[in-house]
């Protein structure tokens, strides 16, 4: 790298104190402890307390582990969603990409022993393909992501309806699928949780240590500046959507493994919670800001919320209302836009 060792240090400008103090102590603290993540974990504690009031076994290790296992499915899906949201986009194709993942993986088991072995990659591969479609629409055609992903969702649904003939898919999951979804290994930790841990670890690495991750944050913050700095913004956007598609499909594979088969509309209950988990974890819906730890907190929070609601035997309708209200409340605290006069 060409060095320019110069003595322009001679001319130092006068300190502009007024502008620099803002960086000071408060900013430092705020970076260390993200208020959103802190409050997400706080809410988790509150929920655990509430749950224990209802039933003493709520705080037992078995139950908590069970919760974490259930959370893993959402966790995998939310990871992909987080990356897309960090870009400043959104992925509404989750419902049917999840279904595609599950259905294609189970379908592969019907293709002989090779199919059984490749069931999981086939499922994920289909998800990546759909994700690439999303990516093309957003990166090259500059269509707003919510529209592209809604369209891809519709197409994916159409494809699956044709594939299954409108009936429930009859194919069974492969043993590998069942294993990663329901098995236990390593001191009795559920495999699904391990899968989430691996995915999460990779996500953290990707976001914090790689050029890809840096570019994702940059695009979410100011795509124009990222472009003018020479970043390959279109490729990064495509890759992000491909990852999201792949992870959604992986979620579908896990779900199919858990239930031993796929089901129609199996991905529908995961779209809103995935977005909620990411947003509740402090990731800004406008992009450019957020840490994976927050998404983890958000996923656990949502899962616990769901459990409490069923333990308290709150009816289904209450669940939906509480989801919606919780997201709005969180956003009102952390995600507001600017006034015109700013």
């Amino acid at each position: 790298m060409g060095e320019i060792d110069s003595t322009s240090n001679r001319l130092r400008s006068q300190p502009d104190g007024a502008e620099l103090r803002a960086a000071g102590a408060f900013g430092e603290w705020r970076r260390r402890v993200d208020p959103a993540i802190a409050s997400a974990f706080g809410c988790i504690l509150v929920l655990l307390l509430l749950g224990s009031l209802y039933s003493s076994s709520f705080l037992s290790p078995e139950y908590l582990l069970q919760q974490l296992k259930v959370a893993s499915f959402l966790g995998v899906i939310a990871t992909g969603m987080m990356i897309v949201i960090l870009l400043g986009q959104i992925d509404l194709s989750v419902p049917w990409v999840v279904a595609v993942g599950g259905m294609m993986a189970t379908a592969a088991t019907g293709w002989g022993p090779v199919g059984v072995a490749l069931a999981i990659p086939v499922g994920i591969g289909c998800g990546i393909a759909l994700g690439l479609l999303n990516g093309c629409g957003v990166a090259f055609l500059r269509i707003p992501s919510m529209i592209v992903t809604l369209a891809v969702n519709a197409v994916a649904q159409g494809l699956m309806v044709v594939h299954t003939g409108g009936f429930s898919p009859q194919d069974a999951s492969s043993p590998a699928m069942r294993f990663i979804a329901t098995g236990h290994s390593l001191f009795g930790i559920p495999n699904a949780l391990l899968v989430w841990a691996v995915v999460g670890g990779a996500a953290v690495f990707l976001l914090t240590r790689t050029t890809f991750g840096r570019t994702v944050y940059a695009i979410g913050n100011r795509e124009r500046a990222a472009y003018l700095s020479g970043a390959r913004t279109r490729l990064v956007v495509m890759a992000a959507f491909a990852i999201s598609g792949g992870l959604s499909a992986l979620g579908g594979v896990l779900l199919a493994g858990y239930a031993s088969k796929a089901a129609q509309a199996m991905g529908d209950p995961y779209l809103l919670p995935a977005i909620a988990a990411v947003v509740l974890g402090g990731t800004s819906i406008l992009g450019g800001r957020g840490r994976y730890l927050g998404t983890v907190a958000g996923v656990i929070l949502i899962t616990l919320l769901q459990s409490i609601l069923s333990v308290m035997q709150i009816e289904e309708f209450g669940r939906h209302v509480i989801y919606g209200v919780a997201i709005i409340a969180m956003l009102l605290v952390y995600g507001r836009g600017r006034r015109h006069s700013d």
Binding site: R142, A151, L332, H340
Partner: protein, 333 residues
């Protein structure tokens, strides 16, 4: 110095202004002609009425979506407001004519309130419409579930027959309803100052603000009216099915299809241009395309895929103009 020299040169400009809508109308006429001429039973009054009922239902939801899209927002809760209105209508729009009327008003009121809530959060909470309406959609769905845990209920038969039947001459009554909505809701909105403000906001919020346009009020009114129209759709669907069902799938489908209709109807997703009339034709066109499969004896299994592909194609076409951009910086916000 003749100021009025262009009096007879108006037509090019009027055409330009309504280009999207006219294209949608043309496309719909073509589609419907193909459909009607190939329908096994021919185009009789009953066939027309059934088709009209389904088409008008989507058209009303599309109108609701248009109002919000014009302000460069999006309403992903329209389907759920419709479902909520459906469940509510199946409960309270029954009994004597007075009760029925009050019930119907109640449904409309609830729809307006739902829209107003969306508007308040977007305008004063300054939250993004997409996430807001996903969340409020969940709340409205929850409310619908609370009303109708299982499908059921009823609706006043005279009302249902009136709205879904036929007028003298074989004209479907639903078309009259649609016309009434356009005349009573859309045209006054469009021609009013607040309606034009909505267009301005969608076209360029910054310029609108600098020009003193009431940005917040325009958005709020757009969302509220949208909720109102969605509840009309909910009332209408109750008239068709004679029951209320809290179906999330239904709600999501109608939300998605309303966006398709809006795009097909020449309304710009970026806001500021287009017309609810265009969206109506877009909706009718979309429905007809779906029915074309039936008419041509194609497997109904292919319908969802077909409609999904049509939506994707429409969306791509809508984005084609961005490919003309000469300065790439304009592509990046």
């Amino acid at each position: 110095m003749n100021v009025t020299m262009n009096a007879n040169g108006d037509w090019p400009y009027r055409l330009r202004e309504h280009r999207g809508t006219l294209l949608a109308l043309l496309a719909f006429v073509v589609m419907f002609t193909i459909y009607a001429s190939n329908h096994p039973a021919g185009l009789n009054a009953n066939v027309a009425t059934t088709a009209a009922n389904k088409g008008v239902l989507l058209a009303i939801v599309a109108m609701a979506q248009t109002l919000v899209v014009l302000t460069s927002g999006i309403d992903l809760s329209v389907g759920m407001v419709m479902v909520l209105a459906n469940c509510l209508a199946s409960t309270i729009v029954v009994g004597s004519p007075l009760m029925t009327a009050l019930g119907a008003l109640g449904v409309l009121l609830v729809g307006g309130v739902c829209g107003a809530i969306n508007g308040l959060i977007v305008v004063f909470g300054r939250l993004q419409p997409i996430v807001t309406t996903i969340a409020t959609g969940a709340v409205y769905y929850g409310a619908a579930l609370a009303l109708r845990r299982v499908p059921g209920g009823d609706i006043s038969a005279p009302l249902a027959d009136a709205l879904t039947g036929q007028l003298p001459g074989g004209v479907p009554a639903s078309l009259a309803l649609l016309l009434a909505l356009v005349l009573i809701v859309w045209l006054p909105f469009r021609r009013s100052a607040i309606g034009r403000a909505a267009y301005a906001v969608g076209s360029s919020e910054v310029a609108a603000y600098m020009s003193g346009v009431p940005v917040r009020r325009a958005k709020f009114v757009a969302y509220t009216l949208s909720g109102l129209l969605a509840s009309v759709a909910g009332l209408f669907i109750t008239c068709i099915t004679y029951s209320g069902e809290a179906s999330a799938a239904n709600g999501n489908t109608y939300t998605l299809y309303s966006i398709a209709a809006v795009v097909l109807g020449g309304v710009s997703l970026f806001g500021g241009s287009g017309s609810a009339v265009g969206a109506i034709f877009g909706a009718l066109m979309f429905r007809t395309i779906g029915d074309l499969l039936f008419v041509f004896n194609l497997d109904p299994l292919w319908q969802p895929l077909f409609q999904g592909v049509v939506l994707a194609a429409a969306v791509c076409l809508g984005a084609a103009r961005l490919l003309q951009v000469r300065n790439r910086l304009d592509l990046y916000g």
